[in-house]
Symmetry: C2
Subunit: 155 residues, 2 copies
């Protein structure tokens, strides 16, 4: 089963290049041994830098299941998820990740996945992307208000 | 100016709790000293785990400017972006990040930002989220096809 799901993710990644939607990336999300959603990279086609295969597949699965919690699901990615997509997979509470190509493979074709992994792992003051902090005290008001809210849902 | 933009991001984060859309997070994107888009956390309201303030603001800015490249823009975040949002900021080529509260502050209110930073920084075999690799060779086909494509755009 695992290989068959990965075959589908890879097939999508290949078709995506032919369709000229964006980069060579595909993903499928599986629940109870059935594919419930899929995605391919649509950055170029949609003009949206967040339109990676995994993000699209996660959003589609959540819409289908009417929840932001994908516990009980697994994701098959034709390439190792980038930090953006890996973060999304954590937030979605997906149970398991399967991937085929690596961030190194992607780097070999000028994709920034490996570079972004390096950057995310550094303290912000050491990153290439300039980052500054200000007004922390004022921002804490929102958290205090959240804590007092009756409607807050943990996620 | 910087403080005024951050004040807006923080104001949005506070209003978002009152509106019951999701967590206490707000972001604005600025180009040429003007706010071109904004976002707040809509995870709960939209049932979408990727609906963080920064992701929403990035998608809105790209739609407005009709590009997936936000070079020349800065983002003001009421809280340090999580790895998902930080990855999106890199992919969008935003020039500079300003943030107020920290991942530690968020962790103090049960948000997973710090945990996800720790996980993303580890080799996949050491993460709490089970991750397995298979079928790398087959997945490389998509990259080779991409390299031969006339239509590929680097991003």
């Amino acid at each position: 089963m695992d290989r068959s799901f990965m075959e589908q993710a890879i097939r999508l990644s290949i078709e995506n290049v032919d369709a000229n939607n964006g980069g060579p990336f595909g993903a499928v999300i599986v629940k109870n041994d059935e594919i419930i959603s899929h995605g391919t990279n649509h950055v170029a086609e949609a003009g949206d830098p967040t339109a990676h295969a995994e993000i699209i597949a996660i959003r589609a699965a959540c819409k289908k299941l009417n929840t932001y919690n994908l516990q009980g699901c697994e994701i098959y990615c034709s390439c190792e998820p980038c930090p953006m997509c890996l973060g999304a997979i954590y937030w979605a509470r997906i149970d398991r990740i399967w991937f085929a190509a690596t961030r190194e493979d992607a780097a070999g074709y000028q994709f920034d996945d490996r570079f972004i992994y390096e950057e995310v792992s550094k303290p912000y003051s050491e990153r290439k992307l300039e980052t500054r902090q200000l007004m922390r005290e004022k921002a804490l008001e929102a958290f205090r208000l959240w804590e007092q809210s009756d409607n807050k849902e943990p996620y």
